[in-house]
């Protein structure tokens, strides 16, 4: 070890929701410039670049396309593609790059005009045929992406008695959080009854159990902690991170109700020397309501099978035992594809800085951010703190 410590020093997002007339790179530029301004840095300071692929256009080597767009001359760059886990992983990899001396100021940026680029039907078809399903062994049977998660929900209900009302509670709580986020896509309050009476898409998941589709981008800046102390905002440190994967495709997973989040969480907690009880706020990936329930269990916030009961009675809301996904997540806040899980990291930083406004959790010292890619396939857990221990 060379003793370099890195920290997150800037965050920024574009307008999120329906943002017609802005390309993927314009949205990424909006987010990146906001993150740099937040840090008190300029694009000319950046010498490391991390991004993800986009769906709305073809980019040969996305990191090269994005770095070239900004005029960055990187000492290090990488395209991160762990689907929904990409946001957490970009931060993990940027911190590793700075701490290993490969670069000094790393910009992580992702997002696109996923909603305005094409019709919702085109987006649904494209995701079903070129998304998470195996092209030979799953796609020919006609599953939607939500169907692949519905298989998990159905099995969870069978094994543990989880109820549709409990799935709906997740959507209701996270919508309440979105209502307190001025940049969230969907802010109108909903009830459990609204979720259960919304259109059944693929049983047991209703349309309000599913992530939305949005335009938007998110960015963060990572640099050396010694430099961070002179910048505008107080630094946020990575205390531990971990990865997990137990299957590539959901169809041949040995178990649908326990995921690689067990492994990513165990590693991240072990590295940080902390446990679930130390987490003040958990920004958990929420592509579907069932995802939150499975991940709460697998990360150790409640015993396996108890996730449905854990989310009841506002327990994952502000003022509850564990506030979860306080910006509104993918269910309500915004979901512009691979960048969607990056907003969870930004929210963890905001909570740690005490900048979350009406949705601020009191006295946050340790926050967890968790991303899930594929169909609860690849997982990345980050434990973040506002003190370097």
């Amino acid at each position: 070890m060379n003793g370099i410590r890195a920290a997150i020093v800037g965050i920024g997002e574009s307008q999120v929701g329906k943002v017609p007339g802005r390309s993927a790179l314009q949205l990424q530029s909006d987010a990146a410039l906001a993150a740099l301004a937040d840090a008190g840095l300029k694009i000319g300071d950046v010498d490391g670049l991390f991004t993800t692929p986009v769906r709305v256009e073809h980019w040969n080597m996305p990191a090269g396309v994005v770095a070239g767009f900004f005029g960055i001359r990187p000492n290090y760059l990488s395209t991160v593609d762990l689907a929904g886990a990409s946001g957490c992983s970009m931060i993990d990899q940027a911190i590793a790059a700075v701490e290993s001396g490969r670069c000094e100021v790393a910009l992580c940026v992702a997002g696109q005009n996923l909603l305005s680029n094409r019709s919702r039907s085109q987006a649904v078809q494209s995701m079903a045929e070129r998304g998470s399903g195996h092209p030979q062994f799953e796609v020919p049977y006609g599953p939607l992406v939500p169907s692949l998660y519905a298989l998990i929900a159905q099995r969870h209900m069978y094994e543990y008695g989880t109820k549709p009302e409990q799935l709906a509670e997740v959507a209701v709580t996270i919508r309440t959080h979105a209502g307190l986020n001025p940049n969230a896509h969907k802010k109108d309050p909903i009830t459990v009854g609204d979720v259960l009476s919304s259109r059944m898409i693929t049983s047991p998941l209703h349309v309000l159990d599913c992530a939305i589709v949005s335009d938007g981008a998110a960015a963060a800046v990572v640099t050396r902690a010694d430099r961070a102390r002179d910048l505008r905002k107080s630094p946020v440190y990575l205390l531990g991170s971990g990865y997990g994967l137990r299957h590539g495709y959901v169809g041949d997973a040995e178990c649908l109700t326990t995921s690689g989040a067990v492994d990513s969480g165990r590693t991240a907690f072990s590295k940080s020397g902390l446990g679930p009880k130390d987490i003040d706020v958990a920004e958990i990936y929420d592509c579907f309501t069932i995802t939150v329930i499975v991940e709460l269990e697998d990360l150790g916030f409640c015993p396996k099978g108890e996730g449905g009961r854990f989310v009841e009675n506002g327990n994952i809301g502000l003022g509850g035992q564990l506030p979860v996904t306080t910006h509104g997540g993918l269910l309500s806040g915004g979901h512009p594809g691979l960048g969607g899980g990056f907003f969870h990291v930004l929210e963890a930083v905001r909570q740690l800085r005490g900048e979350a406004g009406g949705r601020q959790v009191p006295k946050v010292e340790v926050a967890l951010a968790h991303g899930n890619g594929g169909v609860v396939s690849v997982h990345c857990t980050l434990i973040l703190g506002n003190s370097d221990k």
């Binding site: 062994f137 049977y141 006609g142 169907s147 099995r155 069978y158 693929t202 049983s203 041949d252 997973a253």
Partner: protein
Amino acid sequence: MTSLPKPLPAPDPATSEYWAGAKQGELRLPKCRDCGKFHFYPRTLCPHCGSVNLEWKNCSGRGVVYSYTVVHRAPSPAFEADVPYVVAVIALEEGPHLMSSIINVPADRVRVGENVRVTFRSAGSGDEMLPMFELA
């Protein structure tokens, strides 16, 4: 006439034996000669032990419904005439799980844990056959 082709399986050298079996009405899976376990989807090495010493074996075609979903909103126009239809994960008697459809039964009759057996249906166009399941 407008034709709305469904997405077809495109066999590759690692999987062609599976699809050749389906055309003959057989569910054929790779089995490891070293650890003795079947696996699915077909790979060129055993995901349980890493061995490349594999052979293709015909399966019984029997299994149970491990999980299922009734799809009410088609992913593309090609599936609209089929709605509602059942996409399921079948736990085969030989061990592996695989995704398939359950047919020849009203969608609301399917439950986790029911016994099923394989049957084969045209993949929609071309001559590929898709393994599907019906209640046993």
